[in-house]
């Protein structure tokens, strides 16, 4: 086992053992970090690897959240609601993605933004199903939905934390495998030079499409896990300011490494938690941090650390 694998295993174990030592506040914070990390990873599947900046991850995030919430309220067991929620988001991504992948660069960003806000508008207005601007409230956590003794009740927050954490960690592992797979390699070749990738046999559009739908799936999973955690869903999950969160987390952490978006999500929510204790104007401080990131280290924290490391080795 490599040092990295051991480090990841230790971290994963730490996340799972957290409820034993931490109170409800820290547990809630860490789970939120995990969900944002998953959302940021899904965003970075497109941005970090292909350079396509999606401003509409919120659409799939809220798609997953609403789908899961509706299923749960209809009495479907938790695990299936969550998984089906993610699948619903992927289906949404499959439809919207068919249009989005035909564009590059700024037009891709604009189109994802348009679709994101379209979903927002639909959620806001379709009161019969989505509850309009009140959102859906009173979402039950219910039972897990596995046969026999595994059909646990997940009403207790600790159990729900464990359930969600396991799903997020598994997803991270899958995404990590994916980034090392032939698909990940083709995606990276598209970022470097799409034309050359096409000539060497990569079917550029199809590859991007697969990445887009996969990103939608995991963004949906992140949203689906949010619904039973908060026990409410509101239209703000689809607003473009929500879509901007994974973008910022990724940029802070560093888009060019797998760890970047995860670290970024932790720093983003951690900073927010710390800053709001001192001032309600946390966005001001955060804007300054973002400004600093863009101006000084564009490869994020991970990139900056790697650079410093490389310099020390050379010295």
């Amino acid at each position: 086992m490599s040092a990295r694998a051991i480090a990841s295993a230790v971290l994963a174990l730490a996340v799972l053992l957290l409820p034993a030592v931490a109170g409800p506040f820290l547990r809630y914070l860490v789970l939120n970090m995990l969900l944002l990390a998953l959302l940021a990873l899904s965003f970075n599947l497109l941005f970090g690897m292909t350079g396509l900046l999606s401003f509409g991850q919120g659409a799939f995030y809220s798609g997953g959240a609403y789908a899961a919430a509706l299923l749960l309220r209809a009495g479907v067991p938790l695990l299936w609601s969550i998984l089906l929620g993610a699948v619903a988001a992927a289906a949404l991504a499959a439809i919207l993605g068919a249009f989005c992948v035909r564009h590059t660069r700024i037009y891709f960003s604009m189109l994802t933004l348009a679709f994101g806000m379209l979903v927002y508008a639909v959620v806001w207005k379709w009161t019969d199903v989505t509850g309009g601007d009140d959102g859906l409230i009173g979402i039950p956590r219910g039972r897990l939905g596995l046969p026999g003794p595994l059909d646990l009740s997940l009403d207790s927050p600790v159990r729900y934390y464990l359930f969600a954490a396991v799903l997020v960690l598994v997803s991270m592992a899958v995404l990590h495998r994916l980034s090392r797979s032939p698909l990940g390699l083709s995606l990276r070749s598209i970022r470097e030079n799409a034309e050359r990738a096409e000539f060497s046999g990569v079917r550029v559009r199809r590859t991007i499409y697969i990445a887009f739908v996969t990103a939608g799936l995991f963004a949906g999973l992140s949203g689906a896990l949010l619904a039973p955690l908060e026990q409410t869903v509101s239209p703000s999950t689809a607003h473009w300011t929500k879509s901007a969160e994974p973008v910022m987390a990724t940029l802070i952490g560093g888009p060019f490494s797998f760890l970047g978006p995860i670290l970024g999500a932790v720093v983003y929510l951690g900073l927010k938690e710390i800053i709001v204790r001192f001032t309600e104007y946390w966005l001001l401080v955060f804007g300054l941090v973002l400004l600093g990131c863009v101006l000084t280290f564009r490869s994020g924290i991970v990139g900056a650390v790697e650079e410093a490391w490389a310099r020390r080795r050379r010295a």
């Binding site: 189109l111 348009a114 639909v122 300011t241 863009v294």
Partner: protein, 272 residues
């Protein structure tokens, strides 16, 4: 009409600099707040209308000169993020300076009446906005088409490399274009002040509207921005009348549709 002013500035900046300015809505908001402050200080609506946009132009200058020009060489995504950082900061700065509550300044007495045109009654102030918008549009058109500086701007928009090779100092030009765009946004904000209540966060709404307009008309096309804002205005008005449920979604639907079918916009010119 103030939407057109905001969209025109956004489109101008994008056309020439290829930067999608997320902070444009915030500049619009600043315009409204600066004008409001100028109004409280001077007591005159006209002073406010003049001073507000000029102050925004100054803020635009600081933004471009101090920050934005450092990231021109970076990928587009970073320019976008830089302007986004300003959205976050300006929202809070405004909250800090003016408080989170809504403000609604009065319409100046001279413009507060209504006018009968044919069978319909129009508030004078709306006519005034229409007039100012039209005048600014005309001025912009004359400036871009008839002056040598306008020619340089159009040349840079058409082919940046070539313009630079022919001796255009693009960095200075960018600053001025950004300042002009900021002024337009500020004017839009200042004009909207008496009609729409001022609040922090008003920028977040207008920027999306402006995006829709600019995309509809074609990124970088001023004529497109004008026609796009008229179209959006009509779409919202008729949408509200005939299918109020879809009113909010209509604009985004139009935007997505245009991007899919004609990404260069309804009135734009296809590139390359």
């Amino acid at each position: 009409m103030y939407l057109w002013l905001v969209a025109a500035g956004l489109s101008l900046i994008f056309g020439v600099m290829r930067v999608l300015n997320f902070a444009h809505g915030s500049l619009y908001m600043l315009g409204a707040y600066f004008a409001w402050v100028a109004f409280r200080v001077s007591g005159s609506f006209w002073v406010a209308l003049l001073a507000g946009p000029l102050l925004v132009a100054a803020a635009g200058w600081a933004m471009e000169f101090g920050f934005l020009r450092r990231v021109y060489s970076a990928p587009e995504a970073f320019q976008l993020l830089l302007t986004f950082a300003f959205v976050l900061m300006l929202d809070d700065v405004v909250k800090l300076a003016f408080g989170p509550v809504y403000q609604s300044p009065p319409t100046p007495a001279a413009l507060s009446g209504a006018v009968m045109i044919g069978r319909s009654i129009l508030p004078t102030y709306h006519l005034f906005i229409l007039g100012v918008g039209g005048l600014v549009g005309l001025g912009l058109w004359l400036f871009l088409e008839k002056t040598s500086f306008g020619l340089v701007i159009r040349a840079t928009a058409a082919d940046r490399e070539m313009a630079r090779a022919l001796g255009v100092r693009s960095s200075r030009l960018f600053t001025w274009v950004f300042v002009l765009g900021a002024w337009l946004a500020g004017l839009g904000g200042a004009l909207s002040m008496p009609v729409r209540a001022i609040s922090p966060g008003m920028g977040e709404f207008i920027i999306i509207e402006a995006f829709v307009v600019v995309v509809l008309g074609g990124l970088g096309s001023l004529r497109g921005a004008f026609l796009g804002s008229v179209l959006i205005g009509l779409l919202h008005a008729y949408g509200l009348l005939f299918m109020p449920v879809f009113e909010l979604a209509l604009g985004y639907m139009a935007m997505a549709l245009v991007l899919i079918v004609r990404p260069w916009g309804l009135f734009g010119v296809r590139e390359g």
